[in-house]
């Protein structure tokens, strides 16, 4: 479904060897990876610490949760939509998952919340507190709720043919409010130690639960897109939903299920972020920085905002570049404002390169 042909761009007589080579690079689906590697190597003389094992471990531990969430965003974007509600799903699932397994919260703080006496017992612990299955059960509940929330948003979009931007914005506002309402904006803490180990950095950032989970999700998502009928339907819906419907593609179901995927990946991201901060945090729903990172990384990877084009591999590249960029800007000690200016420049360059790639591919 995605054109990878560069043959027309490599014909002789259109700029010589260098011109052909540059066109080949620009048209390559691995362009963002090349840019990431060049960027990394170019920074080493200026910021030697960027190449230390500790820093690479830091970068990778930041990559995993963002990657998981961006994978779900990729599914939605290929259909031509966007899911702004992911951070709200993170907030709700973070709070509920933590409430189920917490070993004990302060009764003075939680006694007036809707969770008290329902998900959190009168003694202050979660309903599964201390049970050997509390952590896995909480994770399953988080994924289930994430999928349901995403599915509801997707179903409304598909059923009533609403713009995804508008409906997911409504879902963002609604579910963020639900997260705050559930705990009256309090964090749910005192989670089981086994839950926190999910966020451990492991060896060099690789041998950790976060890495295994993120790479597993990315691998499954890649297979789903590239090896299944459902994957082909997703591209077909993104390219031309009317033509897809006439061809027999169940467009509404495809859109709904893509939002289910987005909701489930947001919930998995919620697991990773909650484990990292060791708390269920309703304020995740206000974290527009995270939303920008997810959308930015997905787009920088090359997934089209107009639908019909995108790959999980590209999203991995985009997340790597975006995370490395954030890390480099931190290590350079630039001001908060300068960081956003540079990020804006990078997204601008990525958008320009995307246009150039399209021109080269269609030449």
């Amino acid at each position: 479904m995605v054109s990878e042909s560069v043959s027309s761009a490599t014909e002789p007589g259109r700029g010589g060897v260098i011109g052909n080579w540059s066109r080949r690079v620009v048209a390559s689906e691995h362009l963002v990876l090349y840019v990431t590697l060049v960027f990394f190597v170019a920074l080493i003389p200026f910021i030697p610490k960027i190449a230390t094992a500790q820093n690479i471990s830091n970068v990778l531990s930041n990559v995993w949760p963002l990657l998981v969430i961006a994978v779900g965003q990729t599914y939605v974007m290929i259909t031509g939509g966007i899911d702004l509600s992911q951070i709200a799903i993170i907030a709700v699932t973070s709070v509920l998952g933590a409430a189920v397994m917490t070993l004990g919260v302060d009764p003075k703080v939680f006694a007036d919340t809707v969770l008290w006496g329902t998900v959190i017992s009168q003694e202050g612990g979660g309903i599964l507190s201390g049970h050997v299955w509390s952590m896995p059960a909480a994770l399953m509940i988080m994924l289930l709720i994430g999928g349901l929330m995403g599915g509801l948003t997707g179903w409304v979009i598909a059923r009533f043919e609403l713009p995804a931007f508008m409906m997911s914005l409504v879902a963002l506002l609604f579910f963020s409010a639900v997260a705050v309402w559930l705990t009256r904006s309090e964090n749910v803490n005192n989670l089981p130690p086994s839950f926190s180990t999910i966020a451990d950095q492991g060896y060099g950032g690789f041998l950790s639960w976060s890495a295994l989970i993120a790479l597993g999700v990315a691998g499954l998502a890649h297979l789903g897109l590239s090896r299944t009928i459902f994957g082909r339907w997703i591209y077909a819906v993104g390219m031309n939903p009317v033509a897809a419907r006439i061809s027999g593609v169940p467009v509404r179901k495809v859109i709904t299920w893509c939002f289910v995927v987005s909701g489930v990946t947001a919930a998995i991201g919620s697991v990773l972020y909650s484990a990292r901060l060791e708390m269920g945090r309703p304020a995740f729903g206000d974290n527009l920085n995270l939303l920008l990172d997810v959308v930015g990384a997905t787009v920088i990877g090359g997934t089209s905002l107009f639908g019909g084009s995108g790959k999980i591999l590209w999203t991995i590249y985009g997340v790597l570049l975006f995370t490395l960029l954030s890390n480099a800007l931190n290590l350079m000690n630039l001001s908060f404002f300068a960081v956003f200016i540079v990020k804006g420049c990078v997204i601008l360059v990525a958008a320009w390169l995307d246009v150039q790639r399209r021109e080269v591919k269609t030449a």
């Binding site: 200026f46 610490k49 500790q54 803490n189 304020a283 974290n287 931190n330 350079m332 000690n333 001001s335």
Partner: protein, 336 residues
């Protein structure tokens, strides 16, 4: 096409220049990472200025990172600071819970860490220098003055107090509410059950919730805000109801707060605010830096210490004699 490449070239050059400048800046001997959560309110802006000034005066290289109210981002920034091999870390955290993990990371890396003004929750198992205002006693001092004013009303009913509560994941907010409640309970003959308005330390949330609370309870006589930065929102809501009046005028609502910022100072001088609890920001900034430098000098990688700022209440009665002790009045005087 040339223009496009020029644009990219300029962006790249700016980036490279930044990297080069950053590399040059890494030459100083002692470096402190200053990780703060926001510069949204007067208090945090003044706290940031006081802290950086205190560090600059000692010739220390400061690495500043702003988390923009994102606890996860602040965690990542702390880890980046550790990677850079800083000698010490000063954190103004988003809340008292998320900072515990950050302190733990610094402890593991053997880098002394100080937490400024927003302390970790009491169950914190990690070691840090904690500089904190005694929120309970400062709030009590301010509310006691409000109580004195409330008694002078001589109403034929109980006085209706209202508190604007901060985010209760924040120890400061908890302490301020406790101080407020202590005084209300000690004067139960005077006060009706207090109304609590949640603000989550967010001005727009505070405005919406206060509007609703005052519509439901138009007889509120005393308002205590857990932070002075919410006075503009209080003014907006009371003005709508025609109750934004200076002390002594009919309809005046007895107002108090806590922080001691520029707005509060001006409003006390203009007669609208009756009292505010004052944190000694300059003392807190200097104490933080001095305690951290002492730990670095002594090679103490996991210092554990609490420094309390006793604070006081600035009121309409003592403003003339004590305004120089309040950081907001000092800044207000500088601004003219």
């Amino acid at each position: 096409m040339i223009k496009k490449f020029l644009t990219i070239g300029l962006c790249s050059a700016a980036f490279a220049f930044g990297a080069h400048t950053a590399a040059q800046a890494q030459d100083k001997d002692l470096s402190i990472c200053f990780a703060y959560q926001t510069l949204e309110t007067e208090f945090w802006v003044a706290g940031h200025a006081a802290m950086t000034q205190s560090l600059d005066e000692k010739g220390i290289k400061v690495i500043e990172v702003n988390a923009n109210e994102d606890a996860n981002r602040q965690f990542e920034q702390i880890k980046d600071c550790i990677t850079q091999g800083v000698d010490g870390i000063i954190i103004i955290p988003q809340d008292g819970e998320s900072v515990i993990k950050m302190i733990g990371e610094a402890n593991k890396a053997g880098i002394p860490v100080a937490v400024f003004n927003r302390p970790p929750n009491p169950d914190n198992p990690n070691d840090a220098i904690v500089v904190v205002a005694d929120n309970v006693s400062i709030a009590e001092a301010a509310v006691e003055h409000l109580t004195k004013k409330a008694r002078e009303l001589n109403l034929d009913r109980k006085v209706q107090p209202l508190i604007m509560v901060g985010a209760l994941a924040d120890t400061n907010a908890i302490g301020r509410r406790e101080g407020f409640n202590n005084v209300i309970k000690a004067n139960s003959d005077l006060y009706a059950e207090p109304i609590e308005v949640p603000t989550e330390w967010d001005a727009s949330v505070a405005l919406a919730n206060l509007e609703s609370a005052l519509q439901a309870n138009p007889d509120v006589d005393v308002i205590f805000t857990s932070s002075d930065f919410l006075f503009p929102q209080i003014r907006a809501v009371l003005s709508q109801q025609g109750r934004w009046q200076p002390s002594g005028q009919e309809g005046h609502v007895i107002l108090g707060g806590l922080d001691g910022d520029v707005t509060a100072c001006k409003l006390i001088r203009d007669g609208y605010v009756d009292a505010t609890g004052v944190q000694d920001l300059f003392f807190e900034a200097d104490s933080t830096v001095e305690a951290l430098l002492k730990a670095i000098e002594e090679g103490d990688k996991t210092p554990k210490q609490q420094i309390d700022d006793k604070g006081f209440a600035l009121t309409q009665d003592n403003e003339a004699e004590r305004h120089q002790d309040m950081w907001g009045c000092v800044l207000a005087d500088k601004q003219g």
